[in-house]
Symmetry: C2
Subunit: 426 residues, 2 copies
């Protein structure tokens, strides 16, 4: 396939995500480096200590000046904030027909309609995979993967800080306030946590999902929002007694052609697709026809996941429509040798033996001889003394060695069936 | 944005998936109908009873003749089989530069390298979202959503028939043979089940995922495959005793730059992302840097899910690169009224009361007066008799009515705190 056009990109905002993006772009063999060239950066402070070296990149004090740079193809906006310089820079770019890639959910949730209009009027792309659920490519799945579907409902755990706090409250029994203070110390929560724990961040994201699912622009003002700060240990314990877990869930659906958008704590049944979510993960559950129900789970924030989403948007822009059939053009296919069988692992072994003295010792001897350590061992209730099932699990062992041992065991006179071996996931 | 080009599409294969696709294309307001026009169909029998009416569509006895149709933009291949007419039709189309969309994993797994070469030489797209995990858009996520990532490992439950059988064995305690016979009666398993229960179908899919994750073409011959037919109820029970579940898992990763591809039963810990999968669902877990771990879950087969994936490929081809910012161009934004608050639901209520006679009766009276039925009720251990927590759950009730009742309860002299209300997921 034709090589993608290398896009001239300006990055406005060099915090955690901006740094992650510059890191990715610096990997010379990566798809991002092949797709883009960074022609300018802008941030609040030029001199602030950063993990990435920006000394070789043209500096702009004003993000809007960067957006106005001659020859710019894409402005990446990672400043945040629904108004002020972020909005001004994005508008400057779009007005010029320069594409925008942003991670700014507040901006889209509050001003989505006018920005979409501006983008379309100027035939500029406006992409925002990183704005919802971080590294989970839910925008792409909704816009492209499910393009032939009618979404009937979307629900998600969209704020990692809240999920982290709820998970910690469950594990520790501590109060919301204590867990929040811990989370702030560990960097999982902001100094001013209202935006997260009040449910507003989840509301922004939900309004963007709802726009994609049900048409129209995001309508954040219409989201009913309730946060998690009123939850107490007694509620967490009561949920457990009910066989449930409390999660902050955002849901959107149409009710008689009216749009319902709600963010609130819910008691989810343990087998609910969103209930198993631990720590700072995000998840989105989509009900659509004809596909049915999809659930996507992954990291909702952080430098790596968010940069991954921003980079995917950039690479998409560079490719336009056509991509190789597999990971690369066939001229660059890698022909890899096949890995050796097995390797280390823990295993489950079931065998059937005649119920007579000495059999277990004989089996154990063979295993020990091959250096296989047994972790658990049990003989099952005997239905038929000529075929007694024995079930054991091993400690970590080379599969090859274990298979050799089992071949030997299969040859013992008291063993009446080829042993069945199943890998235990690490 | 510019309207997409309407593609002239031929559909070869009119089984369950072909029928589902024709159904979708017949919805005049849907994105698929706007994206494509069906200009010909082909199948083994013209006269066979079908749920869709094909009398108005040009018929081709030979799928390769359809592939050779003048003016054709895309051949959709839904016949199946790694060789024979499916391969011939696909090659005919690609040689002419006609795009191909296929759900045929066997074809890609066995002949991926030569088909990719043919596609690229003739600048024809070859797309196959439906070939892996049915309605789950994992091909798109890997190719586009994670384009800036290095995948380190991919693992999946890729065969719905096997997962259905294992789930039923767990639930019923029945033998593999009995559950398989049931599954065949219900249409969850083929008359000849070898392809599914032997792990070969999962192997085909794994080899396609591995090609996308690690470069190169699919190398199905190098997949180590073990099926589920040796599993017995004693294994299912032993897994449960170990706090685990048995799943047929396909895994691919690089081991010292060698490619390891294995399909085999594994004992997964209950909190493993693939362990919770019930029935005929599929799931794919991707470990990649910098994004971290993503898990995608959804229906792996069936008319609707598979047609959804085929249709997404077609709509992508029609759109080329540019899409509206949200679900539709801004001129077609739908402005929807906001739904009424609440609606019906079950709720959890926590309140704190003074520990004195008659309080519970007073609370219950107010609820009863508003038609709220209590499902569970418990008074928690008393730390402080002036603030006793009471936790109750309601049966289905209008939230508005419940909130009115709670406002009244909050006014009772013995109630010392505003009640906390949490929705219980249905």
């Amino acid at each position: 396939m034709t090589a993608p056009k290398r896009l001239r990109v300006g990055v406005a905002g060099l915090g955690v995500v901006g740094g992650g993006l510059l890191d990715l772009a610096a990997r010379k063999d990566g798809q991002l480096a092949q797709a883009i060239e960074i022609v300018g950066v802008s941030a609040r402070s030029r001199s602030r200590a950063r993990s990435v070296d920006i000394s070789g990149l043209p500096w702009f004090d004003s993000p809007s000046d960067l957006a106005a740079l001659e020859g710019l193809d894409v402005l990446v906006e990672l400043m945040g904030g629904s108004d002020g310089p972020a909005k001004h820079a994005v508008e400057t770019a779009l007005r010029r027909g320069v594409a925008v890639v942003t991670a700014n959910k507040a901006l889209l949730a509050e001003h989505g309609a006018e920005l979409a209009t501006l983008a379309e009027q100027n035939r500029a792309a406006l992409r925002y995979e990183a704005a919802v659920a971080g590294g989970v490519p839910v925008i792409k799945v909704l816009r492209e993967g499910l393009s032939a579907n009618q979404v009937t409902a979307v629900a998600g755990v969209l704020n990692g800080t809240c999920n982290y706090i709820l998970t910690r409250m469950e594990a520790s029994g501590a109060s919301f306030g204590d867990v929040l203070a811990d989370a702030q110390r560990l960097g999982y929560a902001e100094a001013d946590p209202t935006f997260d724990v009040g449910g507003f961040d989840a509301g922004h994201k939900l309004s963007i999902l709802a726009a994609l699912c049900f048409g129209g622009a995001p309508s954040f003002r219409a989201v009913r929002i309730e946060g998690i700060s009123a939850l107490e240990p007694v509620d967490i314990a009561a949920a457990r007694d009910l066989g449930r877990r409390i999660k902050l869930v955002g849901r959107a659906r149409l009710v008689d052609d009216r749009l319902e958008q709600v963010v609130r704590p819910e008691l989810l049944a343990r087998d609910h697709p969103l209930a198993g979510l631990e720590g700072a993960l995000n998840a989105v559950m989509i009900d659509a026809a004809p596909v049915g129900r999809l659930t996507l789970v992954g990291p909702g924030a952080g430098a790596g996941p968010t940069a991954s989403a921003v980079a995917a948007d950039l690479i998409d822009l560079a490719h336009g429509g056509v991509r190789p059939v597999f990971a690369s053009a066939h001229s660059r296919f890698v022909s890899r040798p096949v890995a050796d069988e097995g390797g280390q692992g823990r295993f489950y072994v079931r065998l059937r033996v005649k119920d007579r003295p000495g059999v277990i010792a004989a089996v154990s001897d063979v295993l020990a001889h091959h250096g296989v350590s047994i972790e658990t061992f049990s003989q099952k209730a005997v239905e038929d003394a000529s075929r007694v099932p024995i079930v054991l699990t091993t400690q970590a062992v080379a599969e090859k060695e274990l298979r050799t041992a089992l071949a030997e065991i299969a040859g013992l006179e008291a063993v009446v069936e080829l042993p069945c071996l199943i890998k235990i996931d690490a």
